[in-house]
Amino acid sequence: MKIAVASGKGGTGKTTVAANLALAISEIVNTSLIDCDVEEPNLHIFFEGEVKSVDEFVKKPRVDESICTLCKECAEFCRFGAISIIKEKVLISDELCHSCGGCRIVCPADAISEIDVAIGKISEIRVSDKLLLIEGRLNPGQPAGNEIIKASKKDSDNFDAVIFDAPPGAACPFIETISDSDYCILVTEPTPFGLHDLKAAYETGKVADVPMGVVINRSTGKDDDIESFCFKNNLEVLMKIPNDLKIAVIQNNGGLFSVEFPEWKKNFLNLYEKIAGLYGVAL
């Protein structure tokens, strides 16, 4: 079963929920925890283990100017403006290119080839026998992390349970992360910003057709706005994590509060069982 943990708003506790949930599940099944927040991956702060990293490459076009007829077909095709025809030469802006390969296909002179360019790294951290952390990391200056997210997820069918820690926001990287998930946990906080961005993530998740439920983090007990939004939209509030200084202190020291408080390990296990039960997945 693949569960994405997302939020819309940054800083609501996605990573906290993902880390504690994955650790709890790994007590019972073979689990992979995947950091899809490739612009700022931070799950590694909570876990130690042997690290193995490989570079991830994408294709970028290059033009053979001795064959190019300057016909502009490639520039007109590219919807990202990554190719410009300037007098007698072709200007390629790698940072705008999304590696779709279309320019190579449309070129009538067959003047375009592709080279491999490293855009980031995929690291595996073996936390325990049953828990593998996979981290995608995009190189600074690269425009789009989707290829890194895809590469981070490529072995996820080999595990009984997979937790994706989604990037904040509700745009392309978020959609890429949740697109092949069985379920999406939306973590929010009882603030106007938390609610605003929960709505954005929920609307996007609906389009991606992924079933969703909500975890309210830093709950003060006055979560009426969030709860009424969830009620109206048939979203189950799966769990509430209280606004508790003890939890914040553990978190800020790079610890996991479900390790310090065993009742929370049980709560996270229950959360998994609830979601798995909803979809008839055997544990």
Partner: protein, 109 residues
């Protein structure tokens, strides 16, 4: 010589459009014939890559000078590579005023 000016409307009396990439029109002024031509910017409503695509239109016009309000980095890289001089002006000016100011300041042209 040709000068491209980003323009809000299809007229020399129109004000200069402030943003380069999403300008509704490009005014093309010929310093010899003193005539204006207007091209509609069909890229203006695209989701992305608008700056470089509008820059490609300016290059295709054969302009040596671009007058606009402000221009983003991606578009500027393309305009610079084509060795087109960029002049930024206030969008309070009309297309006519922007051109006549340019001609006063650069009498050699």
């Amino acid at each position: 010589m040709k000068i491209c000016i980003t323009s809000k409307e299809e007229s020399p009396e129109s004000r200069v459009e402030k943003s380069f990439g999403r300008t509704p029109f490009i005014a093309v002024y010929d310093t010899e014939s003193k005539e204006f031509n207007f091209i509609e910017n069909t890229n203006r409503n695209l989701a992305g890559g608008v700056g470089p695509k509008t820059a490609q239109m300016v290059i295709n016009c054969g302009a040596k000078i671009l007058i606009t309000g402000m221009i983003g980095e991606n578009a500027k890289n393309v305009i610079d590579a084509a060795e087109i001089r960029i002049i930024t002006v206030s969008d309070e000016k009309t297309i006519k005023e922007a051109v006549s100011d340019f001609e006063k300041e650069n009498p050699a042209n």
